[in-house]
């Protein structure tokens, strides 16, 4: 949970730098925007971590079988 919060804050700050065009009849509402900035970073990061974690796990399982042999 700690890691996620930290990533959220980092992502959120990074995202404030660029602008998006205004669109449409629908007012997105500030709460939703703030949340998306946060979740978006996490969702992207989780995917990144999942793939990285898999590689790390794969490394460890190879070492283990080497030790047993």
């Amino acid at each position: 949970m700690q890691t996620k919060t930290m990533i959220s804050l980092a992502g959120f700050t990074a995202m404030l730098s660029l602008s998006a065009p205004a669109h449409a009849y629908l007012d997105p509402a500030t709460g939703s925007i703030l949340l998306q900035a946060a979740i978006g970073a996490v969702a992207g990061a989780t995917l990144f971590f999942r793939t990285s974690l898999y590689k790390v796990k794969a490394l460890f399982s190879r070492d283990k079988s080497a030790d047993d042999n």
Binding site: L16, A20, H23, L26, P28, G31, S32, I33, I39, G40
Partner: protein, 433 residues
């Protein structure tokens, strides 16, 4: 500069609209811009024509399974669009209609080119009209229909957040899309800053897709706790083949074969037994209505599994959906929404006449204004179904009897045929044309 015309041109030229329409995910359409001047619409950039939908349903009339199917279809559509460089401008549940129980998207103009990094403008709307009603079902075991009917824009995260018990808040979907969003919204409203953050906020496409996928997998897993027992009860009840059922099915099929209705209403459709018979006998499309969500779930599963052109909707016949919204005309009331050619009202009238104290002549009037022909069942007072309703209250219905019912009905329509399927149950085939 016309952004809408540009957006539509790009969507149209890419072929995505045609592809989706051909797959049945989007209502079919044809570009008839050349006919615009003849219709007095010279200033129109684009004119589309589309087939008329025989019956429009609203999210507050949906069962849990219908609502879930609509939400998943919306998310699947959005993900497919993003893969092709397009997005949806909004996320309103009113853009989903049903063909049988199959969801179909109806708003061609909501599809527009995606701009990399743009935030999901429809997020709050998706939560209010899709996610939150489904969470109300799954987490609170409550039907959202009453609330949604009053609050046409859906169930706000700030409201639902107050009702989620502490132990259920640790779920990631609820924590983010309900609790956190509610907290951020409340805080920003209090700060009266407005949507200042909008122009600076960016959501990369990969993150957007990950968020949509997260919502999709969370919603796919949602179940209604109290519906678990529904299937068991159904199995026990159907193992007993009621003797009058055969006669009832035959009578219904005879009426349907004679009338050949394009659209039939099954009022009090229960698990869809007679809707299915009507379809087998030649009805093109059946809209089923029932008050019991358990029955609606069974009817939905059957329609889905057997490919029936049946849409089972939630209805309180003593309080049907009114005309409402802007000018009290934005959303149509039940009366006058569809042109039903025939109706069935089996094991129904006693619920309204006895259960809700509506005079028998008014019940008949209400049914007859829904369709010009049909089959109505009159359960006599001595029938067990009626005795159950009278068991807890004094009998204040001196005029509730078969002779009175027949007299009232024949004053309003021709009785084509009538049959006693049981000594205590009479079916009437009426025709008021």
């Amino acid at each position: 500069m016309d952004a809408a015309a540009d957006n539509f041109a790009r969507a149209s030229q890419s072929g995505i609209l045609r592809r989706l329409a051909d797959q049945g995910k989007l209502v079919d359409f044809a570009d008839v811009t050349d006919q615009a001047p003849a219709l007095g619409l010279e200033r129109a950039n684009v004119l589309l024509s589309h087939p008329s939908i025989p019956f429009i349903s609203y999210p507050y009339e949906w069962s849990f399974s219908l609502h879930k199917a609509a939400a998943l279809a919306h998310l699947d559509l959005h993900l497919e669009l993003l893969g092709q460089g397009f997005t949806l401008s909004d996320a309103t549940a009113y853009n989903v209609q049903f063909d049988g129980v199959r969801p179909v998207f109806i708003d061609h103009l909501s599809i527009r080119p995606y701009v990399e990094g743009e935030i999901w403008a429809g997020h709050r709307q998706f939560c209010m009209q899709f996610l939150n009603p489904l969470l109300m079902w799954s987490v609170l075991d409550l039907s959202p229909n009453h609330w949604f009917r009053g609050s046409l824009e859906g169930i706000a995260p700030e409201d639902l957040a107050r009702l989620i018990p502490m132990r259920k808040r640790l779920n990631w979907t609820i924590l983010t899309h309900v609790i956190a969003q509610a907290a951020m919204q409340t805080r920003s409203v209090n700060a009266t800053k407005g949507s200042v953050a909008y122009r600076d906020a960016k959501l990369p496409r990969t993150s957007f897709e990950a968020m949509l996928r997260g919502l999709r997998s969370a919603i796919a897993k949602l179940k209604v706790p109290s519906h678990r027992t529904v299937w068991g009860d159904y199995a026990t009840n159907t193992s007993y083949a009621a003797p009058e059922a055969q006669a009832k099915h035959a009578f219904v099929k005879e009426m349907v074969a004679s009338v050949a209705p394009e659209l039939l209403y099954d009022i009090g459709c229960n698990s869809g037994d007679y809707s299915k018979s009507a379809l087998e006998a030649g009805a093109s499309k059946v809209i089923g209505f029932d008050f019991d969500h358990g029955a609606l779930e069974i009817a939905h599963r059957r329609a889905s599994a057997e490919g029936l052109n049946l849409l089972p909707l939630w209805l309180d016949a003593a309080n049907p959906s009114p005309a409402q919204g802007w000018g009290q005309a934005e959303r149509m009331g039940l009366a006058g929404r569809g042109k039903a050619d025939a109706l069935l009202a089996l094991a129904f009238v006693h619920h309204i006449a006895i259960g809700r104290n509506v005079p028998l002549d008014m019940v008949i009037d209400w049914l007859l204004q829904l369709a010009p022909r049909g089959v109505v069942e009159f359960p006599h007072k001595s029938d067990p179904m009626v005795q159950v309703l009278l068991s807890q209250r004094p009998d204040i219905f001196p005029d509730y009897d078969n002779a009175s019912f027949a007299a009232l009905l024949s004053q309003r329509a021709r009785i084509v045929k009538s049959v006693d399927v049981l000594p205590t149950r009479t079916l009437y085939w009426f025709d008021r044309t």
